[in-house]
């Protein structure tokens, strides 16, 4: 579903990604872990067609980037630590806008369904600027799944959330993954990543330094695997 080969990204003289080989099978939930500055967000932005690779090949849902970026975007949902929502529109108006941008014609029932999924049915007519950070993040997930994408990218979705909001987000993420979607999530929250993901890749200094499945990690634990990968 996702495949990158020898992916390189440079900003001027600085090389952020140094030949990343990465692949994700359909239905997999991959947690992409790594220290700050490892290139996780840059990598996700390339997969999301928001950034152009300097070298190497990228394929998402069978389409190549950057040449078939519109086709990729039609199959992709992205949630970042910013909600990508308009504070002066209601929850419903935000979803209506994004439904139009994705070409969904009869969007009324779909919006009701999505708001139900993220638990915001009762707040549909409230302005987003009145929402807590946790509610905004749940609505952001609703925005990202409005077109029922095959691939979901989450860039540190837990940033700025308290415990209650994080637990609610866990449930929403599980329901998103339960629909058989392919998910790639970056996070610094190892405990949550361990609970949700089926595979763990460590991105360090611009390359995938280590990769392990959930079974592999169960033998030791994710923290020691992570630490070992960074040392190596």
């Amino acid at each position: 579903m996702i495949e990158t080969k020898k992916l390189v990204k440079r900003f001027g003289l600085k090389t952020i990604l140094r030949g990343v080989d990465f692949s994700v099978e359909p239905g997999e939930f991959v947690a992409l872990l790594g220290p700050n500055g490892a290139g996780k967000t840059t990598f996700l932005r390339i997969l999301a067609s928001l950034s152009r690779p300097s070298l190497g090949s990228v394929k998402v849902a069978g389409y190549s980037l950057p040449n078939e970026s519109a086709q990729v975007r039609a199959k992709l949902g992205v949630v970042s630590h910013m909600p990508l929502l308009y504070p002066d529109l209601t929850a419903e108006e935000n979803l209506q806008f994004y439904a139009r941008m994705y070409g969904i014609t009869n969007f009324g029932p779909r919006i009701t369904e999505v708001l139900g999924m993220v638990g915001l049915e009762n707040r549909r007519r409230d302005l987003v600027r009145t929402f807590s950070r946790g509610m905004q993040q749940r609505l952001a997930i609703g925005r990202a799944v409005i077109h029922d994408p095959e691939v979901m990218l989450f860039d540190e979705p837990y940033t700025g959330l308290d415990q209650d909001a994080s637990e609610m987000l866990d449930e929403v993420l599980k329901s998103v993954a339960a629909k058989g979607r392919t998910v790639v999530m970056t996070s610094h929250d190892l405990a949550r990543a361990e609970d949700l993901a089926t595979r763990f890749d460590i991105l360090s200094r611009g390359i995938i330094a280590a990769s392990a499945t959930q079974k592999d990690v169960q033998k030791t634990n994710l923290l020691s695997f992570y630490k070992q990968a960074l040392v190596d």
């Binding site: 975007r73 529109l89 941008m101 070409g103």
Partner: protein
Amino acid sequence: MADTTKSPSLEKQPMEYRPSFFKATMAIVQKDLSAEFRSRELLSAMLVFSMLVILIFNFALELDIKVRQSVTAGVLWTTFAFAGTLGLNRSMAVEKDRGCMDGLLLAPVDRAAIFFGKAISNLAFMLIVEAIVLPLYALLYNEVRIFQPSFLGVILLGSIGYIAVGTLLSAMSVQTRTRDVLLPILLFPVAVPVLLASVKASGGLLNNATFAEILVPLNLLIVYDVIFIAVAFMVFDFVVEE
């Protein structure tokens, strides 16, 4: 694993959603207008600024009626240009500050549709400000000739050119930390031809010039509009991509 649990409300949708260029453009316009009419942040800033400039010029030129008549076009276009810059900065900053620009760029649409959506919204805001400022100007300066259709046509052509290049440049400047300073520095030199042509054409109309006399600035305005809309259409994708 295939997606076997498709949402029932989406079953009748085509497999791949792609809105038309026009629908995507209009969705952005509708969103911008709805958000602005609710917050009124952008319009109120543009209006207050425009009124202050008109009032300051009114006091500065109070004693000299002849000078006042000859500078009408200049005063108006100075006001519109500065107020327009305020609007352009704010309009793009709203998209950037909460990451909404990424939300727009993630939609499976031709990115030129994003440019046209933002440009049409910006033009609508500028025209609203002009529609309020012109009667105020007529009242303060006792100048009713500004309501002739040809003068309003020049205002429209000038505004289109200014907004076309301004929207493109604000998409560039908003990605920098010094966006508030950078936009006027980038915009004014590039917008000089459209501002000069607008002042010349509107000044000529107010001073009863013949059509032949204002043909050159009028042609320049039309050519400028066409060129910058075409340039923006071609380069917007590269401007917004990392």
